[in-house]
Symmetry: C2
Subunit: 223 residues, 2 copies
């Protein structure tokens, strides 16, 4: 069982997917707090609907990232969490935060890393003209969007950028709870850059998909 904080800056659909996975018994986590840097973030009402405490730590007006991150770490302290899920956290983390939860911060990135790092990954993949993009859950290190990859999903590009965005989000909502569950089961270890997922000890699997890779079901004949 992990004691989880979810950090989110925006709408919070991934936070909700994680919370629902807990509710449905697919994820052995205690979601102790949702923390956001935006007072009007959609994630606030989503968390409240499920009775999860919300902390708002506004990110404006700080001298640097370290100063802000120290406030976030302080705000999390009383919840005694041991694992952090960055579910659309639109801020780059400083050493202050990364050291406080070393090796236990999972980030979602809406592209098949190492392609399309940065804050506009979906639009970047779309305008680059690739045929396949996706999403990644990775462990956070100081280098932006570059930590060891736990799980990825591939999504073919067809249709508009809005359609692509919703297809990617749909995959995110599946892989993030899955990666957290592997974490909760103590099955994740890292060798060099490789994430090793140990075989499950449980007789009954809580998950319904393959190790480390998921492919969008949207692959239909189109010609």
């Amino acid at each position: 069982m992990i004691k989880l904080a979810i950090l989110a800056s925006a709408n919070g659909t991934n936070a909700q997917a994680i919370i629902e996975a807990v509710r449905d018994g697919r994820l052995d986590a205690d979601v102790r707090v949702v923390l956001t840097n935006k007072e009007d973030a959609g994630v606030i009402s989503r968390a409240q609907k499920f009775g999860i405490p919300v902390e708002i730590v506004p990110s404006k007006g700080h001298r640097n990232r370290a100063e802000y991150d120290a406030l976030v770490v302080a705000a999390l302290e009383k919840y005694e969490v041991d694992t952090i899920a960055l579910a659309g956290w639109m801020r780059i983390l400083s050493e202050v935060f990364i050291d406080a939860y070393k090796g236990r911060i999972l980030n979602l990135h809406p592209a098949l890393l190492p392609s399309f790092k940065g804050a506009t990954a979906i639009a970047d993949a779309y305008s680059h003209g690739v045929r396949i993009t996706g999403c990644s859950i990775h462990l956070v290190t100081l280098e932006l969007d570059a930590g060891p990859v736990i799980l990825q999903a591939a999504v073919p590009i067809s249709g508009t950028v809005d359609e692509l965005e919703s297809q990617i989000h749909r995959m995110e909502h599946r892989i993030f709870p899955q990666a957290l569950q592997w974490f909760a089961e103590g099955r994740i270890s890292v060798q060099d850059r490789h994430v090793i997922v140990a075989p499950s000890a449980a007789k009954v699997r809580k998950t319904d998909f393959i190790e480390g890779c998921l492919v969008s079901p949207a692959l239909e004949e189109k010609i």
Copy 2:
């Protein structure tokens, strides 16, 4: 119908896949010549087995790429080809070559571009620890491995790097003839960086997979 030259530096399994696609009626191409820069390349005997003329233009001893590429262009001249398939051509092209076949050079790259450009893409993806890699067919521009993408296939990583290599090759052998067939049918156009594949005019499709994206069938339950 395209008049095709295949350029290959090594074993030639992709050249063979293209030649077999022609033989089997899946690709409307006349493979007029196979050209290699290596006197001991495996592609030579493969081409000869199918009765395809072979040109060997050794790449050693030239002052620069342009000088060598001029020899290649000269060697191709008598075959009157209009389309070039780079099927494991381990040389960076100069403007001399690219201008001679402008917009009609297709390259195979064994990764999901823009990830893992360069000559060691499969090993790079493996050692980077990504969960999904693949292969790409793209139009060649002066910038290495950066031209508009026609078709990609996603391959999940599991097992050894050798197993990954053979899985990627298997996908290459499917997508390269497919991309060439779209070319042969005159269905490919480029807008900005986007490759547009026009709908097929043929009543009977010659191909068996989806537009612009193919996913490895190796996605099995593993947990």
